[in-house]
């Protein structure tokens, strides 16, 4: 009787994941020993842990390891993404520390869930197999569902969590169906295997075509791309603002990255096919996002729609299907992380007793009450619109460049028109801040962490707009394993 031969996986490839998981478990246990009114300590420990894991992860930037029978890949792209997720964690923890106390939900589990979600996203970033993507997606999604309903006593949060959960479960079924169809045709779920199958047999089987769409749909929920975006505004509005900041950036980036890897690695030969679909989706996503955002008076909802629009812009990076597109995408991930979390950070900044801070009116006269904060918000708004000298402009410039290089002139024209529309609603906030007088005089009371986070993000958004060189280098380095 011969023993089943199990190949020994190269564990060094998953050191970041292991460390992150350990961190999350440690936080759960550590939480037991922290008194109820001191839960902030858990957050600070989580913060230090994230920085530590980040330092370790950064060492892998030049590695290229494929392991777990080809299911898991560690390449510069995945490492850069992992660093981005950890950066998101750090910023989100900073803006949460005091906010949770104001919301009366300062619980240690919050930080543990955040880190668990990060583990899921890290796996997605490194997945070289459809099943692996699914595993990562679910690990992340389950944690995020709970986070969305973290202020469970408020009906809106409960609604948000339930809505998110139901949609998520439904869509993950669709995603699995896509995987099953692929497996049915190819006989494997490994991305290189799919690619090899198509190389040998051509793209003749229509089932594969359906699978491509279903996979995009499955990831499309997290990306919040049209027509799977309906959940986003309600969830973003209902969830605690710090969680909104998190889910509007990290899971979206993870899903786009996964979609990108699947399309480039597995279905590369079907590029013309998925490009024609994704073109329409991207155009729809950005247009729906921007046009609907114009009508919003709730800043969280507005930013929710704007984040839908940004997903549309980012899809252009996948669509372009060239070196520049990928670099632009990697760059934009960071740019988007800085400016979007920053904008949500300011919403949190405005959270005072009895004032949620997410209504347009709450921004009234901010420039007179707190000029620096208003200035930083303007920087974020400029960056989100894509006006120099901000990092958002460079990001948009790169994305447009990639699309132009690939010949998608009409899509770029649509994106340009969308940017003009977006100016209108972003500057509605600027207008309220600068051109109207303050109404309530409850002083702003931000914690140290939030202050540091918001102003650092503002400064980075500005500085990287003037001197984007380091970020472009990083983006370029991340794509070295493709093409």
């Amino acid at each position: 009787m011969s023993a089943i031969n199990v190949p020994v996986p190269n564990l060094s490839a998953i050191v970041p994941e292991i460390l992150t998981t350990v961190l999350a478990c440690f936080l759960l246990m550590f939480d037991l020993f922290v008194p109820k009114d001191r839960k902030r300590v858990v957050g600070i420990v989580a913060l230090i842990g994230c920085i530590f894991v980040g330092a370790v992860t950064a060492k892998y930037i030049n590695e290229h390891i494929v392991t777990f029978s080809g299911m898991f890949i560690l390449d510069p792209f995945s490492v850069v993404l992992k660093l981005l997720f950890l950066l998101c964690d750090v910023v989100v923890i900073l803006i949460s520390l005091r906010y949770l106390e104001i919301e009366n939900v300062s619980l240690g589990e919050y930080y543990a869930l955040l880190i668990f979600a990060t583990v899921g996203m890290m796996i997605m970033a490194s997945a070289n197999d459809l099943i692996m993507v699914y595993l990562g997606l679910e690990t992340m999604a389950l944690s995020v569902y709970v986070l969305a309903g973290f202020t469970r006593m408020t009906p809106k949060a409960a609604e948000a969590a339930l809505k998110y959960f139901l949609m998520g479960v439904f869509i993950s079924g669709i995603f699995l169906y896509g995987i099953a169809l692929t497996y049915g045709v190819v006989g494997s779920t490994g991305l290189p295997d799919v690619s090899q199958y198509i190389t040998l047999n051509g793209f003749k089987n229509p089932v594969l075509g359906v699978a491509v769409i279903l996979i995009a749909a499955g990831l499309g929920l997290e990306i919040a791309m049209a027509p799977f975006h309906f959940w986003a505004p309600d969830v973003y509005e209902g969830a605690p603002t710090s969680v909104t900041a998190f889910i509007s950036v990290a899971p979206k980036v993870a899903a786009i990255a996964a979609l990108f890897r699947i399309y480039i690695e597995a279905f590369n030969l079907m590029a013309a096919y998925w490009q024609s679909i994704l073109w329409l989706v991207a155009a729809l996503t950005m247009t729906i996002g921007n046009v609907t955002a114009v009508l919003q008076n709730n800043v969280k909802r507005m930013l929710a729609y704007s984040s839908i629009a940004h997903a549309g812009y980012m899809l252009m990076g996948i669509l372009a299907y060239n070196k520049l597109g990928l670099a632009a995408l990697a760059f934009y991930f960071f740019a988007y992380c800085l400016m979007n979390i920053g904008a949500f950070g300011i919403v949190i900044y405005l959270r005072r007793q009895n004032i949620v801070g997410d209504n347009l009116e709450d921004f009234k006269g901010l420039a007179q009450v707190h000029p620096m904060l208003a200035l930083v918000m303007v920087v974020f708004l400029l960056s989100l619109t894509g006006i120099p000298p901000t990092v958002g402009f460079v990001g948009k410039f790169l994305l447009f460049s990639a699309a132009v290089e690939a010949g998608f002139y009409w899509l770029v024209a649509i994106a340009v028109l969308n940017s003009v529309i977006s100016l209108y609603y972003y500057f509605k906030i600027a207008k309220v801040m600068y051109m109207e007088n303050p109404e309530v005089d409850v002083p702003l009371s931000a914690g140290m962490g939030l202050k540091v986070a918001v102003f650092t993000l503002g400064l980075l958004t500005f500085v990287l707009g003037i001197y984007p060189h380091p970020l472009i280098s990083l983006a370029q380095r991340s794509i070295s394993s493709f093409f």
Binding site: I387, P389, S401, A430, Q476
Partner: protein, 537 residues
Amino acid sequence: MELHFGTNVLNFPLLSFLTYFPLAGAIVLLFVNREKVNFIKWFAFIVALIDFLVSIIIWFKFDRTTWHFQFVERFTWIKKLGVEYYFGIDGISVLLVLLTTFLSAIAVLCSFNYIQEREKEYYIALLALETGMMGVFCALDMFLFYVFWEVMLVPMYFIIGIWGGPRKLYAAIKFFLYTLFGSLFMLVAIIAMYFLYHSKTGEWSFNYVKWVHVLSGLPLKYQFWFFLAFFLAFAIKVPLWPFHTWLPDAHVEAPTAGSVILAGVLLKMGTYGFLRFSLPLFPQATKLFIPVVAVLSIIAIIYGALCALAQEDMKKLVAYSSVSHMGLVMLAMFMLNPTAIEGSILQMVNHGLSTGALFLIVGIIYERRHTRLIKEYGGISKVMPAFATFFMFAMLSSIGLPGLNGFIGEFTCLAGVFKANWKYAAFAVTGVILGAAYMLWLYQRTMFGTITKEENKHLKDMTLREWVYMTPLVICFIWIGIYPKPFFKMMEASVKHVVEQVNPEYFQKKANEEAKLKKLIKDGMKVSMRTSSSAVD
């Protein structure tokens, strides 16, 4: 062919200094207590004044004999994208740079009384705006240019939106949206050209000099689209009819200084953009579009003038007169001969000075009466004689009275247009006639006659501060009006170079004509010699 990136005789980054000095001032102001209003005002003024005084160095050090870029600063900015930090000026931009520093100083000074709230932010925005405008005129890297082009919108948005009139919010966002709409298409064109340049040379660059060298030879089908995209951005800025609708709103709502800067400098960015980028980069498309631009310009000239005739609000009247004047600038520029283009550049400067002065005049009277309606005034010259005199100078300069700057500019423009196409010139002249009509009528209704309103009987005449900022403008009117040679001298070489790039046939034709004329004279001489000799016989 060897490319000339220009020289810098100073060994000192003068242009960068001029550009960022106001910004540095703005940053210092950021940390000043908002209660110290007087200090803030004077600090901002001194910063702008120093900027202007330093910019005078350009006047003396500028080499008038060459079209190469001068005072050049050039180094790599974003290495990965091939973006350079490339600053430099030539005969096309030099006058506009001087105009910018000059008008900015005046704009600061004229706001002392007008702005009564949130002074700190106001002066910060005004100084930041100066940085943006200077950058636009100095940048010779397309990426850098685009950055300044957009950056400048932000302070202007706030100036209109915070310190503007009753409909300021509408006007501010309209201004911002219109301009952004146009410029984003330009951005796409810039990106496409960036790739074309790469495919032709294998090098990533946004360098203007390199682009002109390589891309001006593109086939017409490319040039056509690029021209159109640039056209949209610049035509909205000029503003050319039918893209002008943002202008009256923005002008009417903006505070005086905002209007002065808007009319004096911002509109010039559109025409400057055409002259600097559209013409040399897309010569073939330019020629193709001449009739279109000419017709739109003529419509702008006449339509603007007719609208101005119908206005009841003084500021709106001046705003529409801007549409009309800028139409003439555009028309002359697209005639592609040296006379017309020189006239067009001088007219940009003139328009900046005289329309700036008119907006200041309106601002002065508005500060006293808080209305701009023409019917509220009448007989003002009796109570404010000095004011009436300044108003007269500004008005006559705008009309183009011989002896003042407007005449030189308009005459040169029209002469150039006439050279190219007399029909265009005939239409353009109507604008000049109508211009005289609405301006003189405005002056008559407000300054002459009897004083109809009780409030107007005790208006205070010009204060010392107002004298200080109006006098230099009037000196400029007279200087350019009597002795424009130094101004033409500054742009001659560059304008000739532009015409060589866009319309080389012009010089060919001119040489042929001159040869023919010489021959004719020679023949005539022979004939007359013969007849005179036969007469002797």
